[in-house]
Amino acid sequence: MRMQLTKPRSIAKAAAAITTVLLGGNLVASNTTGKVESSLLLYSETSRVKAAEGVLAGTLFLKGDRVVSAKLTFDGLTGASPNGATPSSQIQTFTRPSGNGSYTIRPGETPLDDTFKDTRFAFDLGLTQPLGRLTSLNIGGHFSSEHDYSSFGLNAGLSREFFDKNTTVGISGSFAHELVRTVGGTHVPLSSMPLAVDDGGGGEEDDDDGPEGKEKKDVFDLLVGVTQVLNRQTIFRANYSYGSVTGYLNDPYKLLSVVEPATGANPGEPVDYLYEGRPDSRTKQSVYGQVRRYLGGHTVDLSYRHFWDDWGITSNTVELFYRWQFKGDKALVPHFRWYHQTEADFYRAFLLQGDPLPGFASADYRLASFNAYTMGLQYSFPLHQGNKISIGGEYYMQRGDASPPGLFGSLRDAKLFPDMDALMFRIGFEHAL
């Protein structure tokens, strides 16, 4: 190894030779670069749903500025979810979604459907292809499948750069067709839940799905956006999106309680449970603005979204990321998000006995008015040769109006929108190809 150089005719030649040895010889160029990313997410709502998600994603940068990406996602879900019925001072019995067997809820408790168990698999594929020096085209497709639901879709987008590439304008659209296989068959909206014929086993498990209904919906989305470099430190992005969904939009497992009115014998107590009924179309729009600014090595990223739809829901989201960059490519990223939405026009926590049935009604808490707060922290650090690890946690709090004014009877003590807290933990690994 110890090289003895005797009387080199040219020191320059010798310098080139020993440098080549030091650098390990001439490297052969390859035509592809790529990375593989994998991550595991654990999600837990207090006494409700628990979920685990694994993601494996790959990106290949090919010659000619073509980028191919693929992603495989696998989710496992288990736990309980509110079925939409109000709490009662009596024991409540609900038919399982399959129609086989039943489950009971103790007095005063929020009715949770504990048959919530699912696995989901999804596959995404995308390709970006430049069309000349300033324009690029991206196309993609996805397929996802779970127990009672599957979706497949296509998307395409064009972006073009202007003004020395300081401005990027993009337009993209997507279409998806989704199939809902309603366990236990499709129920007529706002029809009564039939009482289960108990299988006698007290059935903890609900393995038999019973009759199956097949429903579908079509989802169309359009997005136009602009990204503008404001100066060396600041980038601004704005976009507008329009979405339309038509078809079967009900959640087949959500119920609504019909309760005795204040003048009844047992005011606030349920007398019937109806399956929910939603309109068969929804049009959504949103505007979004984001500013990202570099502050001497750190980055602050602030965004705002305003959303509205023809169901009467309006929402506002403010999100802030701060990226602290440390020596050695380590980074700490605290994150805060605030979300508020108004309730859908047809949201009803319950219906009153004797009142005429509304055209549409749902007690799904996701259509109610609520605030949500997310706080998160992520730490990432490099391993060697471009491999990177990130570890992060998030705490999510959802707060709605648990006891809106005008409640009566037994509903006065009930929590119609129970607080929901969730904890998320994510570990990710990035490997350079």
Binding site: M3, I11, V21, D65, Q325
Partner: protein
Amino acid sequence: MLSKELVLRRSENCWKAEFSAMASPCELLIDTDTESEARFLASLALSETLRIESKFSRYRDDNIIHAINHSNGQPVELDDETSRMLAYANSCFQLSDGLFDITSGVLRKAWKFDGQPIHPDKELIRSLLAVVGWSKVALTDRSITLLPGMQIDLGGIGKEYAVDRAANLLHEKSGRSVMVNFGGDIRAIVSDSGREPWTVGIEKPENEEKVAGVIELRNGAIATSGDSRRFCLYKGKRLGHILDPRTGWPVKHAPRSVTVIAGQCTESGLLATLAMLHGAKAEEFLQAQEVTFHCIR
């Protein structure tokens, strides 16, 4: 403003990534239209640069250089990369007849190059010379043994090495044309003959804003040795900061700076340093090597 974070900007025909490392502003130019690829490649080059910086910096107490410099006469086991670095330093020592010596750093204790008059402590220089001299070092493929009190410093190689490694990594990973520039030490690679060469603006030393000329580089490198701001005055004469490891004194009549264009940055850096060590004969040395160079006196 530069930062430890990658800042990506669109340049006319490529993406430009900037960060700060090795006490220099660092710049990567990657001939791609895809931002995500540029970001991904740049992050690979950044982590490789930071890895080299932390591994070979003499200012850290957790790396192989610290272990060697505090080995107190005991052999220190070497990993492959450090072994290659030291074999390279050994070759440089042989090539330069002992002028290029990575053990000469301790001599800096006797000098201060802040442009002020100096009265060097000749006794101190003599005592420091006792722990200077690569020939006193026992090097094998697997280990190095220094005399107690000796120190090595790879500062004269590390930055150029990082430039070459980053450029090769970027090119090897992507097959694209790339240019790496760490504070004026540059390496360019053009992916195929159909591509345009990279152009490098050469700054005028007295006014850093003005561009003195433009050099086109296809596959090549530029490195500069010397720093016109680091000198001292002795008996009214200006002495540059390049120290002769044999005398312990600054090399007399060395140019203020030497810039060399060659194939690889490490090679250019070595030739520039050797030219400086040749003092008054720097230009003569470089002419004999038939390389493109620029000396400032």
